[in-house]
Structures are given as C-alpha cells and as structure tokens.
Symmetry: C2
Subunit: 225 residues, 2 copies
DNA sequence: CCAAAAGTGTTCCGTCTACACCCATGG
DNA sequence: CCATGGGTGTAGACGGAACACTTTTGG
C-alpha cells in the first residue's frame, strides 16, 4: 500500500456506547467495570477499539452487539472526545455513541457474563476518564431530540401503555407532565395506534396497549410531542 | 512509554472545517482545492491532521487559525466520519467542525495565499471524498440551533442592521420571514441592543445599527428567535 | 420627484396550560 | 368496599401568522 501521510501521527480510535434503558419508571444505563489497564476496575462505559477493516459506525454496532446480542438497535453518534490525556495509557480518541434499548429485550444472563449492570442515571458513580462527560452529552442529545424524533418507543416494548410512554418522557426531560394534556396530544398522532389489547400488569382496571406504527410514520416522518 | 493497547490498530485522525460566512445576503463556505495526493486538485474543505500533542479540538482551532489568522471564532464539532474507504489513500478518520465567521474579518489576501474562495452554498460543487456529507451535516446543525442559540451574530459585523440579521435567518433556514413579526420578536430580546448609529450603506434613508450584548446574554443565556 | 429600503400594529387563530372528577377491578 | 391506577373535557392565556401603508432621502 502506498503511504501518503507518513510524517503524521496515528492514534488509537475507540468507541464507547451509552446504552439507555427504561425500567421501573427510571432511566438507566448499562455500566461495567473496566477490564484492562490502565484504570482496571473503575466504573466505565462499554467500549472497544475501531479495527482497520470496519467503519467507526460498524465498530459501535459490533461493540453493542457483543454486549447485548441484539442488532438494529437505535444508535446515534454523540460526540468525539479527543483530549490528549483523556486516556491515562496511550493516545486514544474516542467516539461516543448513544443507544436505546428495551430492558426486557436484554438477556439477564448477559449481565453476569459481561459483568455489567443497569445503573440509575440519578445514581451515576464517578466513571473512568471522561465517561461522565459522554453520558452528559448523550442525555443532552436525548432531551433535545425526544420532542421531534420518535426515540421514546425504542425504550419500550412493542406494546405499551400511555402511562409508560409518559413516564419515559418524564424520565428523560426530568419534569412532570400533565396526564390529560399528554394524552390529548397522543390522540392527534395517528401513528401511535391503540390496540384491542389490555395490560393488566400495572393496574387492576387494566390499561389499553398502544403500538408505534413505524411504516405509517415513515410515510410522513414528522413528529411533535 | 508503556504500551497498553498493542494489537489494536491505529488510524490517522484529521479535522475538516466547514467555515460559513455571510455575504451579499448569501450563505457561503470557504473552499479550496486539495493540495496533496490522493485527490490532489479536487474541491475540498480545509483540514489537517491531529498531532499527538494536541487535542482534536485544538487541532481544529489550529487549522482554522492557519487559514484565517483569527482566534476565538465560533466553532462546534459536527460529526465524525469513519467509513473504511472514505479516504482513497490510507485509513483516515475525520472529525468535522463547523465555524462561523464574519466575511469582512477575513483578510482577502489570504484567499489567494491559501488558494481558497467563498462559494455560495447553493452552488456547491462536488467535493473530495465525503466532504459534501460534512457540509450537509453542518447545515442541519445550524438549522437546528439557530433558533435557540445566538449563532447568527457570528456571521455579522459587531454592528448590524435588523434587515441584515433577518437575511441571515432567511439564508440559513431557506425561507422568507415576515419583517414585522421578526422585528417584534427582536424588541422582546433585551441583549439585542439598538445603538445611536445609523448605517447609510444599504439605503438612502439609513437603518439603525444594533449590537449583540454578549455579557448580558451570558447572565441569562436563554435565546429564542 | 421617485425609487428603494426602513420602519411600524392589529386581528385572528391555533396551541399550550391549568385544573378535578368518575371508572373499573382485584384483593 | 376500597385502594389503585386508568381515563376524560373545558376555559383562559399566550404566542405565532397574516397582512399594508407611511417615512426618509440620495440621485
């Protein structure tokens, strides 16, 4: 291979994934302990190095798949972190990605296998290196977009109740929402479909289950909630 | 230096800057021709490699300074581009930054010296590699933020008329704005100050000059236009 | 004196907000 | 039968959108 750029420095490039889940009305992220030096044992995001034969996006998908066994999850690039000394070992530039998954889809056996756990956002410990910054950027991104992109459904099962959906919004925005106003808006959005099914898990009376109709949304991808 | 991550691949990391300017009621970007192989001669964004002793943000600032001779310009990271074959030579991962400058602050001699020129966004040529994608992402970012962050002033001189300001919004959003409604909103924003000065350049009658009071904005950094 | 840009208010309509009570059911 | 969460409507405030004419002055 011809060398075009000799004389310039190379760096390790890594990806770190902020995986959000929603459980018991709380927003959580999947955290583990760093399994390599330097920083071994510290709380950290799950990540990995970008290989030469894969794009950065592919590396992020691969890392996410390694951890969850799931493909085609919602994922977005958040920000690239490139401080010289951000990694105490060598020069590593890291691209942070944000993923949203339904906690129930996540195989609980994998928690032990990968030694990760769901940690409430509000109880976030001090993380390795600049990982706290990554989490903060990711939350900012979610807050900015949740009202104009159909993100929220990625955190819920296929079928969900309106109360669950409202709780997702409340958890991400960090503020309470009026139930009647929320449901009024939902009624105007035709790709949030009411089904005939009733959820009896959370209440005695039972709550109607709804579904996000992705096809219908894609025909006219305008979202405002 | 201890080597922690041997076995993993390194890559060149570069920065590319999308420099927006506003001139004659048009949004323009500063473009040049690539001065190295591969791709020599193609239209391209101005960029450079990230050195080992500087952060990625610093590299972007340095590159911007090399080109403009200006410091402390408005600059934001846009997105990182990491396709395997995005660079036809070697593996290069590039972080795109967006900068806003006042065209009048840019020394015209530098245009020749660096062989760059202001190109209207609407007349954008085919650019090297994925640079068109970078420009598009940058515009999307501007559109998303112009209504909630005081970006627009970076494209104008210290003193500007309301018509100029309105034209910036129209150029970025790509749609016409009602003059009366626009000016009504401006009146409610107290950190956009009217001065006693009159601009006679663009009209016989003369137009009042305004100023963005940054200090006042920073005391309560809420923006909505 | 006229072309060209600056400047100025009002009305209407739709959207957001605040707010309280009845319903259905399992235990 | 009652505790628990599900479900519903209305009135007032507010903000955005539409819309046309007068002013100033250099050439």
């Amino acid at each position: 291979m011809t060398e075009f750029y000799t004389g310039h420095s190379k760096a390790f490039v890594s990806v770190d994934v902020i995986i959000f889940g929603f459980d018991h009305d709380k927003l959580k992220i999947l955290l583990g302990h760093r399994n390599m030096d330097p920083g071994r044992g510290e709380w950290a995001l799950y990540g990995g190095f970008v290989n030469n034969n894969e794009s950065v996006d592919e590396a992020a998908s691969r890392v996410l798949y390694e951890l969850t066994g799931l493909k085609d999850l919602y994922m977005k690039q958040v920000h690239t972190f490139g401080a010289v000394d951000r990694d105490p070992g060598e020069r590593v530039i890291s691209v942070a990605y944000c993923a949203l998954i339904n906690v129930n889809d996540y195989d609980k056996n994998l928690l032990e296998e990968h030694e990760v756990q769901w940690v409430e956002l509000e109880k976030l410990p001090k993380l390795y290196s600049d990982h706290n910054k990554m989490v903060n950027k990711a939350i900012t991104l979610l807050r900015r977009r949740i009202n104009t992109e159909p993100l929220s459904f990625n955190l819920l099962p296929e079928l969900f109740t309106l109360t669950q959906l409202q709780h997702v919004y409340e958890a991400i925005l960090g503020e309470e929402i009026d139930k009647r106003n929320f449901r009024k808006k939902i009624k105007t959005i035709d790709f949030i479909e009411k089904t005939d099914l009733i959820d009896k898990e959370t209440s005695k009376r039972g709550a109607a289950l709804y579904r996000f109709n992705k096809k219908m949304y894609l025909e006219e991808p305008v979202f405002k909630l």
